[in-house]
C-alpha cells in the first residue's frame, strides 16, 4: 500500500443560485482551480472519480455530461454516490485507488447545483425507498409526514436526545451557529457569511421544528469541490507542502428508517451515532493517532445543523461524551482556540450537499498546507480530522490528514 497525499484543492464560488452556468460549467470552476493549485493538467491524471447526490438535479448521470469539462476525456471514470457522505466517499474512492497502487494520480470531484434541481424530490427519492420499509412494519405512510419532513425532521430527534444526554440547552446550539457563520465570513468560498452574528440573533429566528430554529439550519447551495490526490512519492516532487491522507475509514451502521427510528439507526438513542465512533476508531488506528484530543489540531465534523457539531465532536473522541457543550463554552472550538472546529464555517454555512463531505477533507488539507487564507487557524496543523454523515442516516466517513505520511 502506498502513502497518499493531496497536492491541490479547488472550490467554485458557493451561492444559492448559479443561473449563469450549467452543471458542467459550475464544476469546471472547481476542477480548473484544483489543476491550477497543484500545477498539473488532465494529462497528469490516471483516473477521474466524481459524485453528487442521487436525483437532486434530475440529471441521472451528470458525470457523463460533465466528464469532458472536468478533464476525463479518454480516462477511467467512476461515480460514487452515498447520500450526504458522497463527497467523503469520493475521496475515500480516490484514496483506495492511489493507496492500492492501481493509479498514481487522480482527481476527486464532487458537487451539487441545488437551484437546478428539486431537493425535496431528491430527498423523497430516499424517502420513497423508506416508504417500503415503513409499510413493512405495518405503518401508514402518512405517519412519515406527521413525523417530520426533510433533513430537519430527522435531525430534530438527534437534537432533542443530545440535549437530554449532555444537559445542554438550545443556547449552545445558538452559539455553535454564530461561531460557524462568523468563521464562514472569513472564507471566500462559504455561502452564508454573517461576521457579526450573535447567539442572541440566532435565538430570535423562527422555530422550524423543535428544538431547531431557522438559524440552526444549513442553506441550500450551488457549489463544487475538486482535489488532486497522488502518491506520497509523487507529491514530494510536485509540492513543498502536501497534505497526507493518513487514513480513511467508514462504517455502515444498522439501516435507519426515517419516522420509525428517528434520526439514528436502529438504536434507542438517535444521538448515539455508534457508526461514527467505529469509523473514527478505525481511522485513528490506521493513522497512528493514539490520543486524538492531543494530536488533532483542527476538526471538521459534518454538521448541517448546529446540534450535530457538538454530537459529532464527541463521537470523534475529541472530548468525553456529554462534554462538548463545556468545551464550546471554554472557547476552545473558536478559530483561534485550542482545537478549532469548522474554521471553514462548516456545512451549516455552506451545503452543496454532494460536495459537503469532501469540503470537510479539503478544508483539513488547506489548513495543513497553510493555504486557508483568512480562515487559516492560528496554530501549526500537524493532524486534522474530517467527517461526513449520510447514507440512509447510517453511514459515517472519517479521514485523518497530516503534514507527514503515516508512520
Amino acid at each position: 500500500m502506498q502513502d497518499v497525499a493531496v497536492i491541490g484543492v479547488g472550490l467554485s464560488k458557493h451561492v444559492s443560485k448559479r443561473r449563469d452556468v450549467n452543471i458542467a460549467e459550475l464544476v469546471y470552476e472547481a476542477v480548473s482551480a484544483a489543476y491550477d493549485d497543484a500545477g498539473v493538467s488532465p494529462r497528469d491524471m490516471d483516473a477521474v472519480i466524481t459524485g453528487n447526490m442521487p436525483a437532486f438535479e434530475g440529471v441521472n448521470m451528470p458525470e457523463l455530461w460533465g466528464a469532458g469539462h472536468w478533464g476525463a476525456y479518454g480516462k477511467p471514470l467512476l461515480r460514487i454516490t452515498t447520500g450526504g457522505t458522497t463527497g467523503g466517499s469520493v475521496v475515500h474512492g480516490a484514496f483506495y485507488a492511489v493507496a492500492s497502487g492501481m493509479f498514481d494520480t487522480v482527481i476527486a470531484i464532487s458537487f451539487e447545483k441545488q437551484s437546478d434541481g428539486d431537493t425535496t424530490m431528491g430527498l423523497n427519492s430516499v424517502g420513497i425507498a423508506d416508504f417500503a420499509a415503513i409499510l413493512h412494519f405495518g405503518t401508514d405512510p402518512e405517519f412519515l409526514v406527521s413525523a417530520g419532513g426533510g433533513a430537519i425532521g430527522i435531525v430534530a430527534y438527534q437534537a432533542t436526545s443530545y440535549m437530554k444526554s449532555s444537559g445542554c440547552t438550545t443556547h449552545h446550539y445558538d452559539k455553535v451557529a454564530a461561531m460557524c457563520r462568523s468563521n464562514a465570513a472569513r472564507n471566500p468560498y462559504a455561502h452564508l457569511k454573517q461576521p457579526d452574528i450573535t447567539p442572541e440573533d440566532v435565538a430570535k429566528t423562527d422555530m422550524m421544528e423543535y428544538p431547531l430554529r431557522f438559524g440552526h439550519c444549513c442553506p441550500a447551495t450551488d457549489g463544487a469541490c475538486a482535489m488532486i490526490i497522488t502518491s506520497a512519492d509523487k507529491a514530494k516532487k510536485m509540492t513543498g507542502r502536501p497534505a497526507y491522507i493518513k487514513s480513511c475509514a467508514s462504517c455502515s451502521d444498522e439501516a435507519a428508517i426515517i419516522g420509525i427510528f428517528g434520526g439514528g439507526p436502529a438504536h434507542l438513542d438517535p444521538c448515539s451515532q455508534e457508526g461514527c465512533k467505529k469509523a473514527a476508531e478505525k481511522a485513528y488506528k490506521l493513522a497512528g493517532i493514539k490520543e486524538p484530543r492531543k494530536e488533532i489540531d483542527v476538526a471538521e465534523p459534518y454538521a448541517p445543523f448546529a446540534n450535530q457539531l457538538l454530537m459529532f465532536y464527541e463521537r470523534l473522541f475529541l472530548c468525553d461524551e456529554g462534554e462538548a457543550p463545556a468545551v464550546l463554552d471554554s472557547g476552545s472550538m473558536e478559530i483561534d482556540g485550542e482545537l478549532p472546529v469548522c474554521p471553514s464555517g462548516g456545512v451549516i454555512s455552506t451545503n452543496a450537499i454532494g460536495a459537503s463531505a469532501m469540503e470537510r477533507i479539503a478544508e483539513c488539507a488547506l489548513q495543513i498546507m497553510g493555504k486557508a487564507g483568512e480562515h487559516q487557524v492560528n496554530k501549526d496543523v500537524h493532524n486534522a480530522v474530517a467527517h461526513g454523515w449520510g447514507g440512509a442516516l447510517n453511514l459515517n466517513v472519517v479521514a485523518v490528514l497530516g503534514d507527514t505520511p503515516r508512520r
Binding site: D20, N22, I23, E25, H69
Partner: protein
C-alpha cells in the same frame, strides 16, 4: 414460504411532482440568442480548431476553454437519419404518428459536430445520407427550445 406465497401485498400510489429548472449556461445562452437573430452560432477550440455546434464551454479533447464564436451557414448535410413511427403523447404513453417523421443528424459546413432535428417537407422514403437541408428558425416560438424548429430540403 413457497415462492409467491406471501399474500399481504399492497399497492400504494405516492403523488410526486418534481420541478427542475436547469440553467443552460453561458454558451447555450449565446446559441439561443443567435437563433433569435436568425444566426447559427458555433464555437471554435483555440488549440485544435474543432468547431462545436451546439457550442460548449470546453473542448474536451484539448481541455481548453472555447472562446471564438463562428457563424455557420444555415444549410447543412444529412450525415445520418432515422424514421420515427411513434411519439410520446401528452399522457406520457407512446402513440402512433399519423405520418412517419424523418429525424436527421445534420452537419453544417465548418462545424465538427451534428445537430439532431426533424426534417419536414419530404416523404421519408426520399430521405438519404448526403441530402442538403436548411434550418428553419421560428423566432416567435414560445419555448426557447422550439426556436430551432426543424429542417427542410434545400
Amino acid at each position: 414460504m413457497e415462492p409467491g406465497g406471501l399474500k399481504n401485498v399492497d399497492t400504494v400510489e405516492i403523488p410526486a411532482v418534481p420541478v427542475f429548472s436547469w440553467s443552460v449556461g453561458n454558451f447555450m445562452e449565446k446559441f439561443f440568442d443567435g437563433l433569435k437573430d436568425g444566426k447559427l452560432m458555433g464555437i471554435k477550440c483555440p488549440k485544435c480548431g474543432r468547431v462545436y455546434l451546439p457550442p460548449r464551454m470546453i473542448c474536451e479533447r484539448c481541455f481548453t476553454e472555447n472562446e471564438e464564436w463562428v457563424e455557420l451557414p444555415l444549410e447543412g448535410t444529412v450525415e445520418s437519419f432515422t424514421i420515427a413511427h411513434v411519439k410520446v403523447g401528452d399522457d406520457g404513453e407512446l402513440e402512433d404518428l399519423e405520418t412517419p417523421e424523418t429525424i436527421g443528424m445534420v452537419k453544417h459546413k465548418g462545424a465538427d459536430t451534428c445537430i439532431v432535428a426533424r426534417i419536414e417537407g419530404l416523404d421519408p422514403a426520399d430521405a438519404g445520407v448526403g441530402m442538403r437541408v436548411t434550418v428553419v428558425i421560428d423566432k416567435s416560438a414560445e419555448n426557447i427550445l422550439d426556436v430551432l424548429s426543424h429542417y427542410v430540403p434545400c
